[in-house]
């Protein structure tokens, strides 16, 4: 069944079709749930108060080149598929409490973003999950103003959790600092302190490289050699691409100082997947290829995740991606806050989410919570080799007075964010 899953754009997979065939049964279930919901109201009218919650997922679709690997083709419903599952989860829970949820999903090209976002605001949406880059995110959050809570689902920029933070924005996506700290801790646990850093030439690659330099300083690793891989454009996938790669990468990595591990900083997806097996000196690769820091992946099974993956696959007909997980998590944060506060006031939900009382199970072994100083979600980072969870950071022994999770990313004294004071 798994082999039939659909990765690319357009078309419907066999599994999705069978999911559609099963709709009859699911409709019955839904009906049962609705009946249950009304039944509930009759016997616990005293405690259950009808609460209606509206939320939106707002996605900007940027023009992009094809990924190096076909496995990384972006499905059309990226993020939205996670939203669909979260909506079902929230509705099921809400049925027992008299809470109902409505979800709106919008995908727009960058040039239409402001108008579409304004229309959302004019429609009264005040809980908005945004999938956009840093500049767009900041502009939209500022347009939204007070009274709206923006949940950043995908932007990793550490600046958003630092001097560019906004009081009306919380971050479900981990910062680059959290991701690079997760890699650094594992490298140190392995006693691989000498790093050969290879970074791309685009701005996002530079930011990622800088984050690895900071993580190296933080955890006592040493970058013994650094090289930039220029993005010269052109076709990435050709019929015999590997022939050239097999000749170029060894030469590119030749004569580096003695190192334990190669750290790849390639957010642009230009070269990192070519590094493992083509290095001049045989060493493990981590970062943008080899062992990668991720929030989630479709093979993750620990901590009850199997049942979560199966529910997602049955609903959407494909494997879960990080973006789906992060959007699911964002909507579950809202759902959990509504469940515990029995209300839908955006300000009250924000206060609860940022409080010590908030916690949410997220299939990663410990509860996820929020940093009150910059609105960043604390969460473990999975280290993934493309097939399995190899390890999970924070690593054993990285202690912190508040939570080991605060050993990843900007801790309170390091964050210049003052919007949450």
């Amino acid at each position: 069944m798994i082999q039939k899953y659909w990765y690319g754009q357009g078309g419907i997979s066999g599994s999705l079709r069978s999911t559609l065939r099963n709709r009859g049964r699911e409709d019955t279930l839904k009906l049962l749930r609705i009946m249950l919901f009304f039944g509930m109201l009759s016997w616990t009218a005293g405690e259950a108060m009808a609460v209606e919650v509206r939320a939106a997922v707002f996605r900007i679709d940027y023009p992009s080149l094809a990924p190096i690997s076909r496995y990384d083709l972006v499905p059309e419903d990226i993020g939205f598929a996670g939203a669909l599952l979260a909506q079902e989860d929230n509705m099921t829970t809400g049925a027992f409490l008299g809470h109902t949820y409505t979800l709106e999903t919008i995908a727009v090209p960058p040039q239409d973003a402001d108008d579409a976002f304004d229309a959302l605001l004019a429609g009264g949406q005040s809980l908005i999950i945004v999938m956009a880059n840093q500049d767009d995110l900041l502009r939209l959050a500022d347009r939204a103003g007070d009274g709206v809570l923006v949940l950043n689902a995908t932007a990793h920029d550490t600046a958003l959790r630092n001097d560019a933070c906004r009081a009306n924005m919380v971050h479900i996506a981990p910062s680059r600092a959290m991701l690079t700290d997760a890699v650094a801790q594992f490298a140190m646990w392995k006693k691989w302190p000498e790093w050969f850093l290879v970074h791309g030439s685009n701005p996002a690659d530079q930011l990622l490289a800088e984050s690895y330099r900071t993580s190296a300083r933080k955890f006592g690793a040493k970058i013994v050699e650094e090289r930039a891989f220029e993005d010269t454009g052109g076709s990435r996938r050709t019929d015999t691409g590997h022939v050239l790669v097999q000749k170029q990468i060894p030469v590119f990595t030749q004569d580096a100082k003695r190192h334990d591990v190669v750290i790849a900083a390639d957010e642009s997806d230009v070269f990192a997947p070519y590094l493992p097996f083509h290095l001049w000196t045989p060493r493990p690769t981590m970062g943008s290829a080899g062992l990668r820091p991720v929030t989630f992946h479709a093979a993750h099974e620990a901590w009850g995740a199997t049942q979560f993956q199966r529910r997602f696959e049955a609903l959407t007909g494909r494997y879960m991606r990080q973006e789906d997980y992060q959007v699911w998590l964002a909507l579950r944060v809202i759902g959990e806050a509504v469940t515990r506060t029995s209300g839908n006031d955006t300000g009250a939900l924000r206060t609860y989410i940022l409080s010590d009382d908030f916690e949410l199970a997220a299939f990663k072994g410990v509860a996820v919570t929020f940093r009150s100083w910059n609105g960043q979600m604390r969460q473990p980072i999975l280290l993934y080799d493309g097939r399995i969870t190899v390890s999970v950071s924070p690593q054993d022994g990285y202690l912190h007075q508040r939570s080991p999770l605060d050993s990843l990313g900007l801790d309170e004294p390091e964050s210049a964010c003052d919007a949450f004071d």
């Binding site: 279930l29 099921t92 829970t93 027992f96 009850g304 049942q307 916690e359 199970a361 509860a367």
Partner: protein
């Protein structure tokens, strides 16, 4: 070993004749059930039990062993003596935990993937009811008078009180994150619900008509153990309702709660990732499944001490002991 022989001898001399009971342990990764003799604590045998066996229970007469073969989407029924697979019961997809009516019929099953509790007649093998519950149902407890089945849903974070009379949910109680297990005291006056990620045990008073009222939440604290690792899962209460034993997962400890004071009085070190537990019928021993060290720990209930560990199959999950 010396001490164990001594204990056994004492039991033989002072109490009713010691009866060996079979202990059945489901091995989630090993796809098997390990059988242990409760007198010698030796492994008697290990037999195939389907794909990903988790929940395990036994009929009141000790003849039928029920195993939730999660990846086979069925409950397999074995002859408890010959270990022969007799038949499978329809369970709904991905059965994980279940609880048997004290009479031996029906079986109440949690279906994690479908947000359902399935009620299956163990004689006619028919599904009697499907009850929609919260997201990811897992824990299943039954009240001593068998009027209530309590299901916990791990993502919805509720205990659902299902009437066994009409299979309708009558009460829903919110608890902390990821509730895994529900257990009544023997007199039915209290219900314990463990929350794995919340790190707490919720204690509810149960009125005569079954209405629950949250009384308190018990937390755990242990020097040298990260609070995040104190994850309560399985819970068992002694017949005299004096002590509750709580398996604390990756903390590798079983906590002992004084039921009257609702306070933790002791932590017992056991194997790694301890999840489910079962008493021997005389309640002298408690057996814990330790998923990451592939063994079970035998706890002396009166002394509140671990006395032995027994190697079983891969990733032990559930355990049940044959009745006398």
């Amino acid at each position: 070993m010396h001490r164990l022989i001594l204990t056994t001898a004492l039991v033989g001399a002072l109490a009713t004749p010691a009866v060996a009971n079979k202990v059945y342990v489901s091995n989630e990764k090993g796809n098997s059930v390990t059988v242990i003799d409760s007198e010698t604590w030796e492994v008697m045998t290990e037999f195939d039990a389907g794909n990903r066996p988790r929940g395990i229970t036994i009929s009141p007469d000790g003849k039928l062993l029920y195993v939730a073969a999660s990846d086979d989407d069925q409950v397999k029924v074995f002859d408890a003596e010959t270990y022969e697979e007799l038949y499978a019961l329809p369970s709904g997809p991905d059965p994980e935990l279940f609880v048997l009516h004290p009479s031996g019929n029906p079986l109440y099953i949690a279906n994690e993937d479908d947000n359902l509790v399935t009620v299956t007649d163990t004689e006619s093998h028919r599904v009697l009811a499907e009850i929609p519950v919260g997201v990811e149902p897992e824990g299943m407890g039954i009240s001593p008078d068998a009027k209530w089945v309590v299901n916990t849903s791990e993502t919805t974070n509720m205990a659902h009180f299902i009437s066994t009379g009409d299979y309708k949910i009558k009460h829903n109680v919110l608890v902390d994150q990821r509730p895994r297990y529900a257990q009544f005291t023997d007199d039915g006056s209290l219900l314990f619900v463990t929350s794995e990620i919340g790190g707490t045990v919720s204690v509810m008073d149960i009125a005569a008509d079954g209405t629950p009222t949250m009384r308190s939440k018990i937390g755990f604290e242990l020097p040298g153990v990260l609070p995040e690792w104190l994850q309560p899962v399985g819970l068992k209460v002694t017949k005299d309702d004096k002590y509750a034993f709580v398996a604390l997962g990756p903390a590798n400890r079983v906590a002992v709660i004084d039921v009257e004071r609702l306070e933790v009085v002791k932590y017992i070190i056991v194997g790694q990732r301890v999840w489910q537990m079962a008493f021997t019928p005389d309640q002298k021993y408690l057996i814990t499944t330790n998923g990451n060290s592939n063994d079970v720990t035998i706890i002396d209930v009166a002394d509140q001490e671990a006395i032995k560990s027994v190697q079983v199959g891969q990733q032990p999950w559930g355990v049940v002991v044959a009745p006398d």
